[in-house]
């Protein structure tokens, strides 16, 4: 196998792994990147939004060559019942700016491109290689990995665990526990292919403009979960995910949930006549701040989904992943340039950088949200959607009933369904949001 020692071994070629590998390689560090899949991205699944700001900090001119689908100019939030949806949306032509803020991406193409950039900076990529075990020295410091390839272990001063939400390596080495069932969501997703013109007509977009729909409500059958519809160039990603703990207790299967979502009268016209070319499933870290494990130790750091770096409230993942990968790399580089060892004390710099950045600040801001979503799931995903929908139907339907009566009915419905819980819900939501 490879004899010489690396400055760093990066486990995984997803957002965080590529960000770390690229940053370290471009600083001249000797980096080995291990990817268990046939190619970077073959094992990665995402709804698929890339946050340009974070990538600019790594590859400023990425827009020229990176495989990007559509730049996002509209965001829709749907509150759905079985037959209806009440939506809020925001569309801004300014997002057509010279350096657009957000793109939809297709992970298999994007990750392959991102990893190639790291290789061009000198990182060595080894695909079809699964890291099985961390190797430690006498003082329990991590000094390398053993993989499922023949030949001995590979050594490095530090191992960057960017192995994704499941992250067997870290768990087997007891660096962190297996994620709890209520700290991850199981999402299933289909890629619906349609001609670009059809997508642009159905979403009122001009060439390479894109749009995002986030949906919540009765589509998750009372479970804590959300659906999504993202527009790519010639395909639409349609998916839905719920907390695994809820899923386990609920009788519906993920595919039934997805098919119901696809058949909803508001969704069906968007994907009518499409050809499905892939059906994927993945876990999404939803535990938030309280589920973030110890992120560094002697000879190792954790970044990306493996560290639960996902802002479930705003549905932001790739920005936290890329930033944590970049910050891990910068910390490692600074320690290297000070010619110091990768001790836990030194690697604390990585955590400090994270704390100072939006990554930990945002996660801490919403630290109570996962619990709230979980405990009042029935209210948030069943009762309120129905109430809101009935209120809107009441408002819009013209049936000779006076507006005053209609308003009284709506208030009565809310009070009957939630009573004083209304105020409690509002306060809890406000507190969890602040």
């Amino acid at each position: 196998m490879i004899e010489e020692k690396f400055d760093a071994i990066v486990i995984g070629a997803g957002m965080a792994g590529n960000a770390a590998a690229y940053t370290m390689a471009s600083r001249g560090l000797k980096v080995l990147q291990l990817e268990r899949g046939e190619y970077p991205g073959s094992k990665n699944v995402q709804g698929g939004i890339l946050y340009a700001d974070m990538l600019e900090k790594i590859i400023p001119e990425f827009r020229d060559e990176a495989p990007l689908e559509r730049r996002l100019i509209e965001q829709r939030f749907w509150f759905m019942t079985d037959k209806a949806h009440t939506g809020m949306h925001y569309r801004n032509d300014d997002f057509n700016e010279e350096r657009p803020n957000r793109y939809t991406i297709i992970r298999s193409q994007f990750d392959r491109w991102f990893s190639r950039q790291a290789q061009e900076k000198g990182a060595i990529l080894l695909c079809e290689t699964t890291a099985l075990e961390l190797i430690r020295d006498g003082h329990d410091k991590v000094i390398g990995v053993r993989t499922d390839r023949s030949g001995g272990a590979i050594h490095a001063d530090v191992v960057v665990l960017a192995e994704g939400v499941n992250g067997l390596l870290g768990a087997r080495a007891e660096l962190r526990s297996v994620p709890a069932a209520d700290h991850v969501a199981l999402a299933v997703k289909e890629m619906h292919f349609l001609p670009a013109e059809t997508i642009e007509a159905r979403f009122n977009l001009k060439a390479d403009q894109g749009l995002v729909i986030e949906a919540a409500g009765t589509i998750s059958h009372g479970m804590t979960g959300m659906g999504f519809i993202y527009t790519n160039k010639e395909s639409i990603s349609v998916g839905i995910g719920c907390i695994v703990a809820d899923f386990a207790k609920n009788g519906i299967t993920p595919t039934q949930l997805l098919d119901n979502f696809k058949k909803h009268p508001s969704v069906a016209p968007l994907i009518a006549g499409s050809e499905v070319k892939e059906y994927a499933a993945h876990l999404i870290p939803e535990g938030g701040f309280k589920a973030v494990p110890q992120l560094f130790g002697d000879g190792w750091v954790i970044c990306g989904d493996a560290g639960q770096f996902n802002n479930a409230v705003h549905k932001e993942g790739s920005n936290l992943a890329m930033t944590s990968g970049r910050l891990a790399a910068e910390a490692i580089f600074q320690i290297k340039s000070r010619r110091e060892p990768m001790t836990k004390a030194n690697l604390a710099l990585y955590k400090k950088m994270l704390d100072d950045s939006f990554v930990m600040k945002d996660l801490r801001k919403y630290k109570d949200m996962p619990a709230l979503l979980h405990n009042s799931a029935a209210n948030l995903f069943l009762t309120y959607p129905e109430l809101v929908s009935k209120a809107m139907e009441n408002f819009v339907r013209v049936d000779g009933k006076t507006k005053i009566e209609k308003e009284k009915d709506t208030i009565r419905n809310f009070r009957k369904a939630r009573g004083f819980g209304l105020i409690g819900d509002a306060i809890r939501l406000a507190r969890a949001w602040r």
């Binding site: 992970r107 499922d148 994620p179 069932a181 059906y279 499933a281």
Partner: protein, 99 residues
């Protein structure tokens, strides 16, 4: 019209996907059990690829070929040792064309 099959069968969905099956070396194994636990039973409806099913004798069985490697069964069943969960050998298993 007859009741149109309510849901598309999972197999039809997986049909489109690309796999490199590591035949003979399933990466997930269900430990022998006399009565399947609640979590293991839950997998029979929860597994997005429909790999888990309950045989007549009540045992929960697994055919891991169509596995999407999402890790849900690991979350629910590994802690109590009901299954062992590994990644497939390097390069094997699901190969997302898009992801």
């Amino acid at each position: 019209m007859g009741i149109e099959p309510q849901f598309q069968k999972v197999e039809e969905k997986l049909f489109q996907n690309r796999y490199l099956v590591d035949s003979g070396q399933p990466h997930i194994k269900v430990m022998p059990h006399d009565k399947p636990s609640k979590n293991l039973l839950a997998m029979t409806h929860l597994c997005p690829a429909g790999c888990y099913s309950q045989a007549e004798n009540g045992q929960v069985e697994l055919t891991a070929d169509g596995c999407l490697e999402c890790g849900t069964c690991r979350i629910l069943c590994e802690p109590a040792g009901e299954i062992t969960w590994e990644y497939p050998r390097g390069g094997y298993g699901i190969l997302f064309k898009f992801g």
